[in-house]
Symmetry: C2
Subunit: 234 residues, 2 copies
């Protein structure tokens, strides 16, 4: 059968929406221990692995989950104090945070290929600025943070706002994240979710949360970008 | 059919062999970041999640694996330096290490039930002493460390030595650990392996490595100890 060209289908070029911590920067373990320290200072003991499985949610949602797991209800001012303690504890560790393998190269390659991308993080604008510096990205980077939306992950708001910022159809967007909360938010936004192991989750957890593919880290993703419908050999 | 009693089968009472870090004490994440700091000081960058998946091996094996993953061969004196840097970095974090939920209670309950137990760790005698203190255990605790055997996990030596210390048949021993290295060593020793999620591995990783059961932490294990052939209501 002859192949018909120029069939006037609308162009379906993919766009990428990246999570930040654990996906582009190697900061998850520092965040986990910073939450542990903050909780301990407030007299709350919670095992580190349980905190690990909550990181990546917005601060508000993480605190609700932690309250449920510890069985202790915190007042609004205590929650504010907890967030401040976490920020301070993380700041003491931030010197050890570095880009994940291939993160800078992946973003540069997408830009070279004219594939639109943005970062959508549950973190704050201030915290994200430091992470962008670590990645060698400037202030023109398309970025959506918790301050830009009503609900953080696992709500879909951050990725919907990211797609809007790129003027992309969310159903053409590929969400890349290391946590199940990225993947749940991606499903709710009707984007295609891709998981990365570099945040420390197991492969089954990411697959069960709806990841279409799971790669080790941004470096492995670059080498398989054709599996995501990106023409790498332009 | 009438049930025959006193059939003179040899008594098959189970004994427990516990891993220490990530199984009884909540120290995995601190160890992970301490290895990261040590490697960085030696000019070696390795993603934190990759270190996480190696912790629980003996230092010697971990260093071989890290060398393979970084592609850099270290000399013997460099390896010694790396171990020292890790020990120093971990010591700076040790104040944040606490028992895992239910760990003290589990050990106390086994003692009350006259079920023999020992700890078999890839760590050093000196490092383990501090962890025993955190658990409120005294120097009479039955303990096997890396100094007692030729090969650490995933070799079976530590668990075989633990069984010998308890004068137990290894095939009646239940090995409890948080890492795939515990479970591989357990299989090689022909013990029954039980996994715990509290070291931060995913459930599938532990099951695929041969865990007969996976529990969240020592607290959940206590509540299901009958599933392991221990008569809890004595």
């Amino acid at each position: 059968m002859a192949r018909r060209k120029n069939t006037k289908l609308p162009e379906q070029k993919p766009a990428f929406l990246f999570d930040l911590d654990g996906t582009l920067v190697d900061s998850v373990y520092q965040h986990v221990l910073a939450w542990g320290e903050a909780l301990h200072e407030m007299g709350i003991e919670l095992s580190t692995w349980r905190i690990h499985r909550r990181v990546g949610m917005s601060d508000g949602v993480i605190l609700n989950a932690l309250q449920r797991e510890t069985g202790r209800k915190l007042h609004k001012d205590e929650l504010e104090k907890l967030k401040q303690l976490h920020t301070a504890a993380f700041a003491r560790q931030v010197e050890h945070v570095r880009p994940l393998r291939g993160a800078r190269e992946l973003l540069a390659e997408l830009s070279d290929l004219s594939v639109p991308w943005a970062i959508a993080t549950s973190g704050t604008a201030k915290g994200s600025k430091k992470m962008l510096e670590i990645l060698g990205l400037d202030s023109h980077t398309k970025l959506v943070t918790s301050e830009d939306v009503a609900h953080g992950k696992p709500f879909p708001d951050l990725f919907l706002a990211g797609a809007k910022l790129l003027k992309a159809d969310i159903s053409n967007c590929i969400v890349v994240g290391d946590s199940v909360w990225d993947l749940l938010a991606s499903r709710r936004a009707h984007a295609l979710g891709v998981g990365l192991l570099c945040g420390g989750y197991g492969m089954d957890e990411l697959e069960q949360a709806g990841a279409y593919r799971v790669y080790e880290d941004p470096d492995e993703l670059i080498r398989h970008v054709d599996e995501l419908g990106v023409e790498a050999d332009v």
